[in-house]
């Protein structure tokens, strides 16, 4: 099994991951957690409850919006939807992560760069 991802890295990647999931379609807390778990093959373990303060902060920043719907069970369920501002923020974050990834690759066995 690969090394577990550190808590700091999990925290730093939470926002782009949530925005990426919402880019695929509207979703709710439990489903977001399940998606992360499945896509990462269980490598990324979030404390379930920590997702909600992040979602609320994203909503406050205007990156996502929420609405109430109904689950199959009849329970009230809060769904999140990505806003245009959120799509822009996701693009910016993806560029930043790509840059970091390239940098790491270059510094660890990639082609030598001249400064």
């Amino acid at each position: 099994m690969a090394n577990p991802i550190s808590k700091d890295l999990i925290a730093a990647s939470a926002t782009p991951l949530i925005l990426s999931i919402l880019k695929r379609g509207d979703s709710y807390g439990y489903e977001i957690i399940q998606t992360v778990h499945e896509v990462s093959d269980g490598e990324l373990e979030w404390a379930d409850g920590m997702l909600y303060p992040i979602l609320h902060r994203l909503e406050k920043k205007g990156l996502v919006e929420s609405y109430w719907g109904q689950a199959d069970t009849g329970r009230k369920r809060k769904y999140y939807k990505l806003r245009r501002q959120g799509k822009r923020a996701l693009d910016e974050q993806r560029r930043a992560w790509d840059q970091l990834s390239t940098l790491l690759h270059d510094l660890n066995g990639g082609p030598a760069c001249s400064i």
Partner: protein, 167 residues
């Protein structure tokens, strides 16, 4: 007998202690718990066990409550800060304040006490025993000030820095 609905509501209430939309946030958290519990029940766990596992996956209630408190604004936030102050919960206070708010906190407390001293000096000017009165007031002010200082996040932070420097 174990009452699942009551337990879920009580658990959610521990996380969300205030805020205008407390009811909605509790409902959201409860929906998550029920999703997890339904899954665990389908796997063969009983209700009590499913509840215990589901809540443990959510994380520590105190940590979650702190995270959610960061999102509070206006009066609910002021109330949370006041509660943290009154109970000398420096850690909770630290979580509620950003670096900017921390600086404002120090300046605010200092200005308040400086102002209070100036006003009392002015009120007691020319009074007999005025000087003694000022000293007495100073001593009285020192008590709440010490309490506030004890609860101040800055004190806890500097203590942590000192202890880590000593290691």
């Amino acid at each position: 007998m174990f009452d699942l609905e009551r337990e879920v509501q009580a658990w959610c209430a521990r996380i969300h202690r205030g805020g205008r939309d407390r009811g909605e946030r509790m409902a959201e958290l409860a929906d998550h718990l029920y999703c997890q519990i339904d899954r665990l029940l389908a796997e063969g766990h009983d209700e009590e066990e499913a509840f215990r596992i589901a809540t443990s996956r959510m994380g520590e209630p105190a940590d979650l409550a702190r995270e959610h408190a960061k999102n509070l604004t206006g009066w609910p936030k002021a109330r949370a800060i006041l509660f943290a102050l009154c109970t000398c919960r420096a850690r909770a206070l630290d979580d509620l304040l950003t670096d900017k708010a921390r600086a404002r906190w120090i300046i605010g407390v200092s200005l308040f006490f400086a102002g209070a001293m100036l006003v009392s000096s002015w009120l007691m000017r020319g009074m007999e025993m005025g000087q003694t009165g000022t000293y007495v007031l100073l001593a009285i002010w020192w008590v709440p000030y010490s309490v506030l200082l004890a609860a101040s996040p800055c004190r806890e932070r500097s203590e942590n820095e000192e202890s880590s420097a000593a290691r």
